[in-house]
């Protein structure tokens, strides 16, 4: 009887057989890479805003303190965005009729809030408290990067659970003295074991419960 298949069929068959396990492995790798990539985490992503507000200008050049606008960061879970009035404290004098600031003036006139687009978004089942971090020596730049270098606000960190856990497992290297908490330029993490130990003791940080599920999820 004659051959059913041509010689190249052998190669094809072999290729198919080999590809099965290869594909299985690839699925795992690709899936992880995808979720860790900015595609999923939106890390490094610029968001358009109704007003092209520049932290670089206000923090870097003018030298405003974070707390000037984000007033509740030290005593509340939410750092809070500044009310229009806060903008007007300066901009009623400066750049009073620049077109760029029209929305601000309009907001004040009509009493409608300025609708900023979120940059840092946590899922709603994650309960993050700014104040307890700030009070215990975690600097703004640890999560938000050096704002004084950001013309438009960009998401600096992935904000994945794995990323949070890194610090919650070993906060020491990320701690700073209270004086540096609001300083955007402080390098993070500092690689100084003694400093870490000293600060852990200074802030009376119990690392025991910091990886409990209930610390962030309720």
């Amino acid at each position: 009887m004659a051959q059913v298949f041509k010689p190249r069929a052998n190669t094809i068959a072999l290729a198919i057989l080999v590809s099965v396990p290869v594909i299985v492995v690839l699925v795992f790798i690709v899936n992880y890479q995808l979720h860790a990539s900015p595609y999923a985490t939106l890390m490094g992503l610029y968001v358009d805003q109704p007003i092209p507000f520049s932290h670089k200008h206000h923090v870097g050049d003018v030298g405003l303190d974070c707390r000037y606008c984000h007033t509740s960061v030290e005593n509340a879970a939410y750092a809070s965005l500044p009310p229009t009035h806060t903008c007007m404290t300066c901009h009623s004098q400066l750049f009073t009729n620049v077109a760029m600031l029209a929305p601000v003036r309009q907001s004040l006139a009509t009493g409608t809030p300025i609708a900023w687009n979120r940059v840092y978004k946590l899922p709603d089942y994650v309960y993050f408290d700014h104040s307890v971090h700030v009070k215990n020596g975690i600097g703004c730049s640890t999560c938000h990067g050096d704002m004084s270098k950001q013309p438009l606000t960009v998401k600096e960190k992935p904000l994945t659970m794995g990323w949070c856990l890194k610090c919650h497992r070993d906060p020491g290297p990320h701690l700073r003295p209270a004086s540096e908490v609001f300083d955007p330029h402080v390098p993070d993490p500092h690689n100084d074991p003694q400093k870490a130990v000293a600060l852990l003791r200074h802030y009376v940080i119990e690392t025991g419960n910091m990886t409990d599920c209930s610390t962030c999820h309720r």
């Binding site: 939410y78 979120r118 025991g208 610390t215």
Partner: protein
Amino acid sequence: MNDTAASHAAPASRIEISRRTALKLFTGGIAASLAGCSPPAEKNMPYVDMPEGLVPGEPQYYATALPLGGYGRGVIVKAVDGRPIKVSGNPRHPASLGSTDVFAEAALVELYDPERSRDIRGTQPINGWTDFLGELQQWSGKAKRGEAPLHLVTSTVASPTLLGQIAALKQQYPGMRWFAYDPLGDDESARSLIPRLDRASVIVSLGADPLGSGPMQIMASRAFINGRMPESPGGMSRLYAIESTWTLTGANADHRLALPPDKIDALAMEIVGRLEGHPGSPLSLEKGARHFVDQMIADLQGAGAGGLLLPGPMLREETVQAVLQSGKRRGAPLDRAAALPAQLRPEAFAAFEEALHSRKVQNLLLLDCNPAFDAAPDAKFANALKGVPFAVHAGLYDNETADLCRWQLPLSHPLEAWSDLTSADGTVAIVQPLIRPLYDTRSQHEILGFYAGQTAPSGYDAVRQTWNREPQDKGFEDWWRDALVKGVVSGRSPQFTLSAGNAEISPPASSQSPSDASAADGSFVALIQPDPTIYDGRFTNNAWLQECPKPLSKGTWTNAVSLAPEDAAALGASDGDVLAVSSSEGKIEGPLRIDKGQARGVVGLTLGYGRTDAGAIGNGLGYNPRLLSPGFQNVVPGVHVKKTDRRAPIPSTQMHFSLEGDLRKLLPEVAPGGSLPESGPKPSLFGPPQPRDPYSWAMVIDAAACTGCNACVVACQVENNVAVVGPDEVANGRAMHWLRIDSYNIGTAEEPRHGFEPVPCMQCEKAPCEPVCPVEASVHDTEGLNVQVYNRCVGTRFCQSNCPYKVRRFNWFAYNSGQEYKDLGEDPMPARNNPDVTVRARGVMEKCTYCVQRISGARRDAEKADRPIADGELKTACQEACPTRAITFGNLQDKGSKVNARRADPRHFTLLEELGTRPRTTYLARVRNANPKLAGGSA
């Protein structure tokens, strides 16, 4: 989160804000509490102008008062971003003592109920308040000229400001008549007693229910338990309950005797006679009962001034008076609730009906009452009311009465309006709003303001005027601020005050005589009582209260017709069969509940159901017993009961009530001073887990102190966004309450008794639910909590199937996130969610976590201040609500903590200890102070 937006916050701030924005902002708040990721295209809305003292996302607390049956209970309300989200008791207020009842806890549902009356409504198309005011002007004119005198109908009034306004109106309108009624009945004198149970050593309740729902419930329960604690001075009090149907008082009694109302009445007279030393012919009772009564009277006599004889509402007025007189002579600890001043007594409702039917009424204002349902639910009344040309109804809801009126005026909720309220014991509290009215509503004071001719009346001013009678008063502002902060008024008195006093009461006009009532001719005596969770019907549309299980039967979403087993057997009826109950006046139908320990020949009925226009939640549930009785007669003799061929099983959260054999271990009971055998630690393969520093949380529940009032159940529901599932799902066994109160029949066949046992999660150290979870959704944290990670749960339900205590609850549907019951998902209802607790998604297991959000909050505050959490600083929602302080929560590592002390109590026991789960939630055994000379006395 983006609820940094919610505005319209502190009552102080005066930002004008429309309802539309309010709702828009609410949804912001909701988004923050909904589970699951959302796309990044999300807006953040900062304020334009930040209100004073408001920190976005941080809670604010305000003291105010909430009415129940007219009287006030002082509360402290928590608001986040201007949204009231939790009501708790005001420790400074004697009618609350820092605790709550189910009604206070559930008040929020009323506030956010989508079905509240939102806009003024007339019988023909109108444009809002202006038309009404126009029409009002004409009628006021007529009234002033005496052509159409103003008729005002209210329910019980306990607000000095309101009294002041009514008095003023009386000046303004000659011939004005004011009628007031209490939907529970006009048997005032018995109902308005404040028994000082803590000062009594022997209490005999003659059909009274001081521990049951009502404005005095919290006070009475706390006093009762204070007198019951074995360590309490003068030893532990003993409670005898003689009643016809089960009440909470009966359920908490040491000895209980079931008799029909007429027998109780006669017995009351006999007791009084023997106490006063001129015994008449003893009432004929069967042997056991007679023995019971004799021993009881002996005990009562022995107690002297500590012997408290408590008359119930079902007694004849004469009897009540007799009892009170004898009590007064013996100096029994019994007071009268705050009553209206003599010069301002309203007429009875009967008088109003008479006026109405004789076509005298043309100008009528029905203020926050619903007579078409709770006073006179008959066609005659309805037609008469329809005929009134200028009938105005002002209420929270567009209810049965409103439908018959020319106008329906939307009333502001007590949490939206300024007012003041007197509590049953006479304490006054200023009612301050936590939120601007959600809709275009007015408060009672503002509506009376309109009648007084003001164009833009302000409740705020009205209340301040009441208390600031001479304008040039310097100290007023400080006093005012102090009153607001404390939530209790002191040092000033308004023109009209309600005052409590000793228990003498001049009998009111009407007086019923049930003495002729007897089951001789095969007919029954119907006994009508307030419903334990719906009360008089004003809460019928409140889904939380509907789903809250009735304390003893654990039935929900309907009222039942209760019968003694023998009577039910005679009818050949079983639980859930629909019975037809008919009297000369009318006929009702309701599902049967067989109550072991109910007096034979008595039909137990409860108020509050059978509403036709309550709203989507409350319509068509149960029956209205008022159809059987004209006026407010609560004892209806000569009713006939027939079994229909229909069945309507009562949706119930508990199926099995008896504890036979070794099941009795579940609810141990000791005599005063008694103790339980302390069993040693169970052997373990891995050795006992060691509690860890700095915190190891634990809870001890005193079963002896639990009166079964359900406050903790609803408090837990509010605090933790626990969903309402509706009657069908409850019937399917899917109720979601994290904390349940198990109700067991204990005692003997001759003397059936009830026992309550609150069961939250046991937080086992060796939790059986944890190792079986495949994804670490159920895990332990370092502080000993058995936490449930909702966002990790995949819903295998192995945890619940392996939980010996069955304390976990599963989201079979998206009860709170898309598949809500009826209109519970509609705005603004979701705005009441606690933003600190995840709203669970469908297919997720949930459970009690000792209010982990509160623990975390306290811990974060402590960490910010670099200090440890102090004992008692942190309270769980159930602990906070409990009127009797039955629940203790604290840190095991703090050797001085109260919880450690309680765990050392000889009554301490662990539920299902033999399983070796090592629960952190443990119990103190029930205590029965039985009379040694009576059955069970040996116990």
